[in-house]
Amino acid sequence: MNDTPMVEADRVSKSFGSNQVLRSISLTVKRGEVMCLVGPSGSGKSTFLRCINHLESVDAGRLRVDGALVGYRERGDKLHELKPQEAALQRRDIGMVFQRFNLFPHMTALENIIEAPLRVKRMSRAKAIERATDLLAQVGLDDKAASYPAHLSGGQQQRVAIARALAMDPKLMLFDEPTSALDPELVGEVLDVMKQLAKEGMTMIVVTHEMGFAREVADSLVFMDGGVVVESGVPREVLANPQHGRTQSFLSKVL
């Protein structure tokens, strides 16, 4: 059993200009772990997720995914920036699900799912379609393969987006507020897919305001505010008995 942590952040910092968004974040996500990341708006949750798959680069500290430094190569005591192709190679093992789905509107659900396997993994078309069909069934949308995103409800779109990310067989899934843009009655169907995924042992980092999901599914809960990790621990304990004043006041608003 490989016990390298899936994600290891060691004093990670990130600024946009003079605005320091992440301040010395240290945390570890083990294999198969589901971590929920919560915190007020602007606390840097999205930025942290985007650093993990190198959509943003970190300024200081070390960020490792599955033992490999994100976006850099370590040679001696110097860091060398990765070539775009190498960065892309790292990213394809990390699935990402966005708040606003970001499905490709000019492609059907099936085409959305097979696009990256075809182009990035150079999978054969027949194999990609077979896999996509399985994934659509897994998220409960076998009958929507030929639908364009505009014809799908928000919940269905988000489930296609999850299937699209899974088609690359990622070892880590990042969810950035996957249910925040959904009508309340559609939240459940997306959370169910995510629960199933967690049950199957996927490593997941989930930014969410769904505290029920955090309590029920997550192995750990991290509360961020102002770019720092204020508090972390077992979800049930943090939610029931927050130690820090900022956690208490945040939770009192969302619970």
Partner: protein, 338 residues
């Protein structure tokens, strides 16, 4: 003619809606359709004026219709029309490919490509197309031979420029390189109109910058790009009349002018040329309609009532402002002139 006298009967001519049928389920709305008396009056006036103009034009000797009929399918004219069509199609194809390349270079993260593209646009938009065409015509004077080889070494191949490129090809190069600068701006606006989340999603899936452009961004920007490019094609059809600057003299306009000079009948020949230009424009508009439909796939499909009939589609395709707020400016030259 006194249009006033016609307004009375015209207003009354609106068919009154027959809204008497009702159904048992729910109360059917039996409204009296809104009438547009002023609109009808104007329509009648305009139709009458048009009829009067056509009637007058048909009899006016200056138009010399028998002469028009004689020349419209004249071999020399139809040949020239075909040349004009070729100039348009070839230069436009090159311009679109080069324009996409320039736009992508301009938006690429590579500063060398960026500056190169910027410089190209600066030169080719900053000078009149007529001047550029003249320059291409003088190419063989400025650069008498084209050498293929390495610097400071005798060239492997040495071609006289005049032999390598004829005036037709020079005309196409001249038109295409100028047009590419405008296409580049249209494409760039189209690319920028695509939501940033799309590129992010593609990148997160491990797609390269180029794959994301080619597979995700550019196909989506087509919806925004095609209407103004359609305008450019139609504009190009007419810009070809400037190739006389090269000098290439076998295009529709120059040929018509030459024939009219020897036949001493300028007006009928310009009518002949106009008929051909209009015919081509109409065909291009139909092509544009089908292209637009093709690239609207999946977008705006949520509104099922968006089934445009061919007739209304034709009227609205070119340059009609759509209700999409993210639309880039339709006139990339920014000055409203051609």
């Amino acid at each position: 003619m006194n249009p006033e006298s016609l307004s009375g009967p015209a207003a009354g001519a609106t068919p009154s809606p027959d809204a008497t049928h009702s159904s048992s389920e729910g109360a059917a709305i039996k409204s009296v359709k809104l009438r547009h008396p002023i609109r009808n009056v104007f329509a009648v006036i305009i139709v009458l004026l048009a009829v009067a103009f056509v009637y007058d034009a048909a009899l006016r000797p200056a138009f010399n219709w028998p002469q028009v009929a004689k020349y419209v399918f004249d071999r020399r004219i139809s040949e020239a029309a075909f040349n004009t069509l070729q100039l348009t199609v070839y230069s436009m194809v090159i311009a679109v490919l080069l324009g996409i390349l320039l736009a992508v270079m301009r938006l690429s993260p590579n500063p060398v490509f960026k500056s190169l593209s910027w410089f190209y646009l600066w030169v080719f938009r900053g000078t009149p197309v007529y001047v550029q065409l003249t320059f291409w015509g003088l190419l063989s004077v400025i650069y008498p031979v084209i050498d293929f080889g390495l610097p400071f070494v005798d060239p492997f191949i040495s071609l006289p420029t005049g032999d390598a490129l004829n005036v037709f090809q020079l005309a196409i190069i001249g038109l295409a390189l100028n047009e590419a600068a405008y296409i580049a701006e249209i494409v760039r606006a189209g690319i920028l109109s695509v939501d940033r989340g799309q590129d992010e999603a593609a990148t997160a899936l491990g797609m390269s910058w180029f794959q994301s452009m080619a597979r995700v961004i550019i196909p989506q920007s087509m919806r925004v790009i095609i209407p103004p490019v359609g305008n450019e094609v139609i504009s190009m059809l007419k810009t070809t009349s400037l190739v006389t600057a090269v000098p290439y003299s076998f295009d529709l306009f120059t040929r018509s002018r030459d024939i009219s000079a020897e036949a001493f009948t300028p007006i009928p020949l310009f009518l002949v040329a106009s008929i051909w230009y209009l015919a081509f424009t109409s065909i291009l508009m139909i092509g544009q309609y089908f292209l637009e439909k093709r690239f609207a796939r999946g977008i705006g499909a949520a509104q099922p009532e968006k089934k445009v009939t061919v007739a209304t589609g034709l009227v609205t395709v070119v340059g009609s402002p759509s209700d999409d707020a993210s639309e880039p400016p339709r006139d990339p030259r920014g000055d409203g002139t051609r």
